[in-house]
Every structure is written in structure tokens, then in C-alpha cells.
Symmetry: C2
Subunit: 108 residues, 2 copies
Amino acid sequence: MERIFSALAESNRIRIVQLLKEKPLTVGEVAENLQLRQPQASKHLKVLHDAGIVEVIPQANRRFYRLRPEPFKELDVWFDSFRSIWEGRLDRLDDYLHDLQAEESNED
Amino acid sequence: MERIFSALAESNRIRIVQLLKEKPLTVGEVAENLQLRQPQASKHLKVLHDAGIVEVIPQANRRFYRLRPEPFKELDVWFDSFRSIWEGRLDRLDDYLHDLQAEESNED
DNA sequence: TATTAATATTCTCTTTACGGAATATTCCTT
DNA sequence: AAGGAATATTCCGTAAAGAGAATATTAATA
């Protein structure tokens, strides 16, 4: 989980991921689309690859990068466990604080 | 989006978020639960706060930290745009490559 | 096999992030 | 007002990340 977040903790890499959402692209295409120099594109793609976010499909001279579904599935599962937070907050802080005060007055 | 990912790109902060999923906690409680020193807990909570992931509820001497739903909603929306990738891949690379070759042979 | 296109890697420099320790701040309580 | 508990901030040292430029590698092709 940390590895995935770390890989996405950079604006260029977020842009790459969004770009690859459309279709697989070569390094050169990524670089051109995002106005990056080729070595930077390669480096960012390497980070994404190490994190398992993209995979490589060598095709002749070029290397196509494509999004892998697994990390997204993983994030989806992780996220699911937070759904209750924004779909009707369960933790009702005021109630919680009220309970807390009750506890404290019991300690006297 | 980058700000959210950056805030979560650290294992202790992921643990904090998971912990706060249960209920709001004070700095001290977070520190104790995760075996962190108080200053580190404060610092990590500050990063999460700056990213809008948590909010503070001052209560007397203490400060309760609570997850905010907004960033999760935001991530959920962002994520939705990737659903097609793992729910029946649409980009079918082999077809894509096939089309590509077709294009190239047209260039002759 | 020499050349070339496409991509990857290395090196250097600068910036940022983290932990630890010490200290400052805030706010309640007496 | 003084003391104390809870929390925040600062300072320091170190490690990691990022960009740029140069170079190395790979694979197709003449």
C-alpha cells in the first residue's frame, strides 16, 4: 500500500497514470504527451513499474507501458474499508466526547 | 490528488489513518497505539492535517484528530475513472498492436 | 557489421523528508 | 499566578528523491 502511494506521490507520475488510462504508450509517446525529456519519462515509468502499477510490453524497438489492474484492485479494497466514514459518518464525535466525559466523571 | 498521495506515502501515516478509522483519537493515544514518540505523532498528524485528511477537535487540554470524509470522496471519484481498467480491460493490447502495425504498413 | 532509433542508466547537484532530542506553547487546575 | 499535562515546534544530521546532462544499452535494419 505504501509503495503504491509513494509511486503516485508525484505529479508527473499521476499524469502518466492518467495518460495510460486511455491506452498503452511507448516511452517516447509519454514523454511527448507530457512534455518530459525521455530520461525523465523512463525514470518515472521505472518507479511506476517497480511499484507494480505498470507493466512493459516490448515491441520491436519500443517498449509499451500499460497499467496493471492489480494495484487498483488493491487500492479499491483498502478504500472500501473507509466507505463508512463518508457514507454516513458512524463515529459521531459529539457522542464520543459525551461518552468520554461520562467516563471521566466516573473516575472521581 | 498529489497532496493526498504524498501524505499517505509513509507507513506510519497509513497506520494512523487506519487507526483513526475506528474513532477520533488524541495525539497521545495515537502515539501510544503505534509506539511512536509524541513529537513524531504530532508531526505526522500535522502532515495529514495539511493534506486535509484529518481535522482537529480541541477538547480542553487535548486535541482529537478525526478523519475528514472529503479526501476519501475525492479519491473515490478519481478511482472511478480507472474502474474500466480492472473490470474488463478495454484497451486490449494485442488489438492495439495489431492496429499499430496496420498503420505502419500504410506508411510505406 | 556499422548505423540509427528507442530506451535505460549513471553521475552530480539540490531539495525535501524523516527521526531524535530538546524546547516551546497551550490550557487546565489549584 | 504557578505547576503540570498535553501537544507543537525547532534544530540538527542524514537519507532519499528529483531534475538535468551525458552516456550506455538494446534491437532493428541497411
